[in-house]
């Protein structure tokens, strides 16, 4: 079992106030500033819940795909993944688009695409985001 923790403070109102991701359990990052304007408009160098979800999903998917490829006897040399999260205020998170390019010795493109689909279905973050209407993956060999 793995517990992972983050601490956030907020001062003032939504529109003219601001928050800080003060620290995380691993000490890997923080403090990171967040504001409503940087979440909904120009990021201006600040992260947002949606960008953090994109980072979580890209990381989880890549680990799952690396695992699937190794299971198939073709561990990857390198995977480059991008995750794009779309958020519509009032509606919620409507889409996550994953895109991956892989250097995988000994594997053809059709098999790689199939493994990428499997990783998209099975990774823990995908399972946690089953409420998202559309999760797509665009996979190709580099």
């Amino acid at each position: 079992m793995a517990d992972r923790t983050a601490n956030v403070t907020w001062i003032g109102a939504l529109l003219d106030g601001g928050g800080t991701i003060e620290s995380v359990g691993s000490d890997a990052f923080g403090p990171l500033e967040v504001t409503w304007a940087s979440r909904a408009e120009e990021p201006d160098g600040r992260t947002s819940p949606e960008e953090l979800i994109a980072a979580a999903h890209a990381a989880c998917f890549s680990m799952a795909l690396s695992h699937e490829l190794a299971q198939a006897g073709s561990p990857p040399e390198r995977l480059e993944t991008a995750a794009t999260v779309t958020f519509v205020p009032g509606t919620g998170i409507t889409k996550v688009a994953l895109s991956v390019r892989g250097s995988v010795p000994g594997m053809n493109e059709a098999a790689f695409v199939e493994k990428a689909e499997g990783a998209k279905e099975g990774c823990p973050v995908s399972m946690a985001l089953t409420g998202v209407a559309e999760i797509t993956v665009d996979a190709a060999l580099a």
Binding site: M1, A2, R4, T5, A6, V8, T9, W10, I11, G12, A13, L14, I21, V24, G25, S26, D27, A28, F29, L32, V34, R39, P43, D44, G45, R46, T47, P49, E50, L52, I53, A54, A55, A56, H57, A58, A59, C60, A64, S66, P76, E77, R78, L79, E80, T81, A82, A83, T84, V85, T86, F87, V88, G90, I93, P124, V125, A128, L129, G131
Partner: protein, 151 residues
């Protein structure tokens, strides 16, 4: 309302067991962080993980919802502190799954009382897009307490 799009990039090299990756905030450039499987499931050793990034996302999403609900109730907060803990566990037959997100919120909101603060926290949970999403597959708990006195 316009669509808001946020992107992250990740580069992974090698097998999942012995390889490692770097995850970067592509939209804001706010962070670029190493990750590995060992630090995801065991001792973090200074590295973040998908679950920690989700904890940061949920805490941030919840805190903005709570601030907004308190303002709507006429008691805008002076200060809110939110902690989120995401738990991943091995579920029999399903492998690793994110099973819960536990939120603890403390706040200073002049004019609010314990009851109205608790109501605002419930409404914030209902209104935070991330809370709504993960309830489909995990348990979300909210423990909210109003602070008394000065900042």
């Amino acid at each position: 309302m316009p669509r808001i799009v946020r992107e992250a990039d990740l580069v992974w090299e090698g097998t999942v067991a012995r390889g490692s990756g770097v995850v970067a905030a592509a939209t804001s450039k706010a962070f670029e962080l190493p990750i590995s499987l060992a630090s995801r499931v065991g001792d973090p050793e200074g590295k973040t993980s998908p679950e920690e990034l989700l904890a940061a996302a949920h805490a941030t999403c919840f805190v903005t919802s709570l601030g907004s609900e308190l303002a709507r109730a006429g008691t805008p907060p002076e200060r809110l502190e939110v902690r989120c803990t995401i738990t991943m566990d091995e579920v029999e037959g399903l492998g690793h799954r994110i099973v819960s997100s536990a939120i603890t919120a403390r706040g200073l909101a002049p004019g609010a009382d314990a009851t109205s603060f608790a109501h605002a926290a419930e409404a914030a949970d209902a209104g935070c897009p991330f809370s709504s999403l993960i309830k489909a597959s995990a348990t979300v708990t909210i423990d909210a307490n109003l602070e008394e006195g000065d900042v």
